[in-house]
Assembly symmetry: D2
Homo-oligomer: 410 residues x 4
């Protein structure tokens, strides 16, 4: 690997990525291009531009992008078509944002003729893997610089010394160490580390940033109607909205009712367990509603097949293989299943939980004529069930007969 000449940096404007920016300049003497995207993390982007300028980045090398619609339309929604949950519970809020960022970094690198990209993820986590696998999949010739794996700024003290030495402004509240680490985007906020490191200790309430405590949520339930077309949410309470607007609205609703909190010990791809606290208010509503609409519009065979491949699909996204043939193959399977996943679900929000209470669709497969306890006018012949059971039982009978025969001979 030769020394990079031009590097595109995923730049938040914060202290850590500012240190990385400077470190790239000093360590490699390379030209730095910054990329700052609005993925719904709730921070303004213009300060990042000003900071980049202040650190000597040429205006044409500063890229600021509102990626919220792309994020929800091309990443979040396809993933929710699968009802993806990692390890049964985690909605993959961080995982799904990483490939999009890498895609942008690589695109900008190609436009500028840059030979490398750089990110601020550490060597212990999953994000480094996600950033880098995505980048290599999109541009096999790209270099990826992960300063946290390379430099010797291994303590908070050393980082601050480096910042001071290079006149990087340090906000007052960054002098002390943060009590935990945060990542946020339109889908979720995750918190981990420090005060959260012992999974036997309950997470302190101040960790939660995006949802009220269920105890503080409204005393009265709220009903919300989510409309789907081909597996994607398209309207809330009858109002059509863009993908990012829908997720934003669902976040407001879920956050207000204390919904979507998760305290999880999960298995990282790099081999260790870690404890995270996640808040995914809108995503939690979306999953519940999507399952609700699938219940009446998706065939049993299709649904069971989807369920059976879901853990693998979720694991691929968690591990950083969004841009892989196998994820794309599974996506083709999932998308094929969603052609009729169209209709409306009413969900009930109340003090930390969400439940489907009603659903209807012109694409419904539910047949009251068949299921009714009343006279079904011949829709279903109960005598068929005898034959169905007899043939399903045949191999079990042959087994029992064999087992008894063999046991009898002993």
């Amino acid at each position: 690997m030769s020394a990079p000449k031009k590097v595109v940096l995923a730049y938040s404007g914060g202290l850590d990525t500012s240190i990385i920016l400077k470190w790239l300049q000093t360590e490699y003497g390379c030209e730095v291009i910054t990329y700052t995207a609005d993925l719904g993390q709730g921070e303004e982007l213009e300060p990042a531009r000003r900071k980049a300028e202040m650190m000597g980045i040429k205006p044409e090398n500063i890229h600021i992008l509102d990626a919220r619609e792309e994020f929800v339309r091309d990443y979040v929604f396809p993933m929710f078509r699968a009802n993806a949950l990692y390890e049964g519970l985690y909605l993959l809020g961080t995982s799904i944002a990483r490939p999009l960022i890498s895609k942008h970094l690589v695109q900008i690198a190609q436009e500028h003729g840059a030979d490398a990209i750089a990110h601020g993820a550490t060597g212990k986590g999953n994000d480094q893997v996600r950033f880098e696998l995505a980048a290599y999949a999109l541009d096999p010739a790209i270099q990826v610089i992960a300063p946290w794996r390379e430099w010797d700024l291994s303590s908070r003290t050393k980082l601050l010394e480096f910042a001071e030495k290079h006149q990087i402004p340090i906000a007052k509240d960054k002098r002390g160490e943060a009590p935990f680490s945060v990542d946020a985007n339109l889908l979720h906020t995750s918190s981990e580390g420090k005060v959260l490191e012992d999974p036997a200790d309950e997470a302190p309430d101040y960790v939660y940033q995006r949802t009220v405590s269920p105890e503080d949520a409204p005393e009265t339930p709220e009903m919300v109607e989510v409309e789907f077309e081909r597996g994607d949410a398209v309207a809330i309470n009858g109002e059509r909205m863009s993908p990012a607007t829908i997720l934003t609205k669902l976040n407001e609703l879920g956050g207000k009712h204390g919904i979507g909190r998760l305290d999880l010990v999960e298995n990282r791809f790099v081999g260790m367990k870690s404890r995270g606290v996640y808040e995914t208010p809108g995503g939690t509503l979306l999953l519940e509603a999507h399952r609700g609409i699938e219940q009446i519009t998706l065939d049993a065979g299709a649904g069971h097949l989807k369920d059976s491949i879901m853990p693998r699909y979720a694991e691929l996204i968690y591990n950083g293989f969004w841009f892989s043939p196998e994820r794309e193959m599974l996506q083709a399977l999932i998308d094929k299943s969603q052609e009729h996943v169209t209709g409306t679900v009413r969900i009930k929000l109340y003090k930390g939980s969400v439940r489907t209470v009603a659903r209807w669709s012109e694409h419904s497969l539910y047949s009251e004529a068949h299921v009714t306890f009343e006279d079904d006018a011949g829709a279903y012949d109960q005598k068929d069930a005898a034959g169905f059971i007899h043939l399903n039982a045949l191999r079990l009978k042959l087994l029992a007969t064999r087992n008894a025969r063999v046991a009898g001979k002993k």
Copy 2:
């Protein structure tokens, strides 16, 4: 199939199975043996004995059994080791009780030299399949009589006429039709049919029988500690209890806090969709807590394998294949994984939801030394991550190179 001479009937003491009892006597002229079990459905059994006697069943042909411990120990707990959910949401409360009942029916039939068993499930549902597959798997020579598929008592009026004609007492509240149908045992209560038949209509509140409405649940959260050994719950708040006692206690706790309600449209094995309302208060707590303890005690490879086979395992139970080689094979796999699933989980119960907030175990795989943001004293070498990523990326790079090469030639 020759006419049965002795039949063991799954007898609840209620109107429907009393009609079946009489119908078996009159239709086949056969001797009837009754079996009534306490699976925790919350009804007394002695009235069933008295009714059976009244209908002429010989005392030695009346079997009353408390099967609660067997049910939880040998059916519910093994299933919960798998975190089984049918179609992502249903805790299989009815499904898991059926094989136990069939096992008892077959055992009693063998003791009495009976040639048939009979059950009161209809020809449209899953229960007929579950009862019969289990019975045939345990005794390939047994006959199974399903009166609802055979007789012509196809309306409420005809049933009542039959009852009156044969002097079967009809409780006043059974004169009118029940507004929905109920099944209950220690794991859950399910309701379906009639007023629940339109999935676009919200279930009326009077359907719920075992859980308070979340709105009516206590205003203050309650913390509960569940202790596990090898995958099974063994103590609550430090007090060791038998399996059935634990589930009973969890039901009280969950029911009090409005936890475990589910309104679901599911796919029946016989090919139609149906809508059910389920209450599984204790089971919902147990699933959450079991997942919590697995988070720190179960290895990633083991956990992901379990997750990947769970949908199939759940489908087998739902479809009635409890006594099948493939369910037993999956159980062997699952049980193997639980050897170290030992430890304690603290769950928080509040107004309809339950969340794991802390967990600890001497069997924990969580390594603070590895995961810490602080200096890890060499437990983990961040440089290893570069190699890990490079080799995981290699095939993706080769793919991208190939794809670009081929595209370039076009």
Copy 3:
């Protein structure tokens, strides 16, 4: 089910389906429409036309179709993209033809306004299921008549009596019972029943109809080059051909060299085991060659995913669910994987076996630069492997540490 007025019959022209034809006329008094297709079974179709006419079928009610190209292009080739094998060994030659026949029967029924279709499969086999599931999936209102499940012509004698009574001509060699039953199409010939019913008895050599005995095959091997595009064979030994022509040619080659014989005891969908003898000469070559080309053009992640879903895909086809959402979803996944499965494979045919000996492609992912034992000029950094192994080992080390710690405490 009301009595059918017009029935489309899958008619071979043979004795059995002629009896069915007449039985439909006499039993239901209905108009019969015949459908006879060339699927490569190696029989002429015009005799079937003449027989149908002779039995009073109106010329406009006689449908004769050459379906070979449709069969191979739309059914055989898509299935071979999956490397489908039922129970590890069976190439599904009968299973894959049934949905096509049903599709034609339903189309003709719709054109003629017929209300039913009829087939000649018995009540013990898989074919009835395949015919009927396909028909119902394509036209939920269609009736399906399966005379073998309905009539009382339960012995050879009764069948012949019926034929004689209705002046159906009986070929001399049909007077006695055939020593086994045969099904054939362009993909395979299957034989079962009678002399083959005891799986402990070797199949007599006269059962084989389409392949020479390996002992009688040529003494010298033959090399054949098969070229693929996007997963489908398009040329043999450099000559481009249509799908059916390719399969015909492969059949000649395989048959000549005694390749593709299989003596199998399999599990029928209806619950029993049966023994079949299959000859699939061309299909066996095609599977080997397709695997050969995938070896260099398909990514590991894609290939392993395909392998993992293949058994389910094969089972769906075997069980008759070709026209089901889950088969179509799996097909979408499989087809997605085949975009670069393009290139050429050389296979060696010799006395009953076929082996890939060479393969090459412009779409190859094989990188001699990476794999070489020689100096690789930096293509691969062996040091990366250490990190790769360390992180893959991390969870195993944590497990071993935990297990030792717990064991030590006991």
Copy 4:
């Protein structure tokens, strides 16, 4: 990682591992313990002892072990219960030997208080992963030294210089480079590299070492009967033998008839494709015979479940995860299925191919009474099939109805 003081080396006695032995002594100044095992590779072990002694290894530090029975009984046979094939074709002959070697290395290290083990696998292959994952899983504190990833002896010339400098005897035929690289044990011989590196070039005949060419195999077929108990082969042609003796005998038979050759391009775990030529004569017979006995003794549900998890099981072994919880869980599932896999199979060997021609067992599930074309005396009621089909079709009909309804509205 501190410098090792005592190292257990997997020592073959050949040039390469002799160089490693010396390099360990000179590079680390550590005490070397040698381990040489007979896994059926067909080489005598005493020369390795003499060489080790000559290089200064203390007699008590030289371990020579006949591990053939352990290898077949505890590794090969359990794997064959699963019908394991990697990527559809490869019988995992190298993969399955590695964990056994690591287990011995770790045991010896623990006995001697050694702090490290060393192996001679390169940094490009799978074997390094298999050796090291197994070692770390068995002893998380062990160090593993992989000289090929560490030293600078990167060319044949440098290796020979090092050998000469340290007076390591070089056999004449090792002066020049071998035209390909070989690994062998009782299960297989694999060849790769050099002349085999271009997968478009046919492998030269001199690569094959263990099987005659099919063209040179006997002109007459040979019948062999293999008897199984609970999934493992226990006798050949009626003669009971130990596991290793059985595999040895099957190797002789297969090798004589030119059976078990495979020319494969496979996907290595480390991310690249490689081409290998494998000879697995006995294993190929064993797989065929095991499938043959499962055909009549294994239930459909059990068999299909086994088939569906097999690719994952094979991948785990290929990737080096023999000692992992998930492999052990799958093994528990597989072993559970084999309880009745007992009986005898007759296979026919002829010029490169092996086919099952007959099988019988007291544990057979095959029921001639059910399958017969003749009168089955009521064993099977063909009318049951109608109900079976109707209920299997129900969801497909509801789908078709829905799809038509929705299409009609557009």
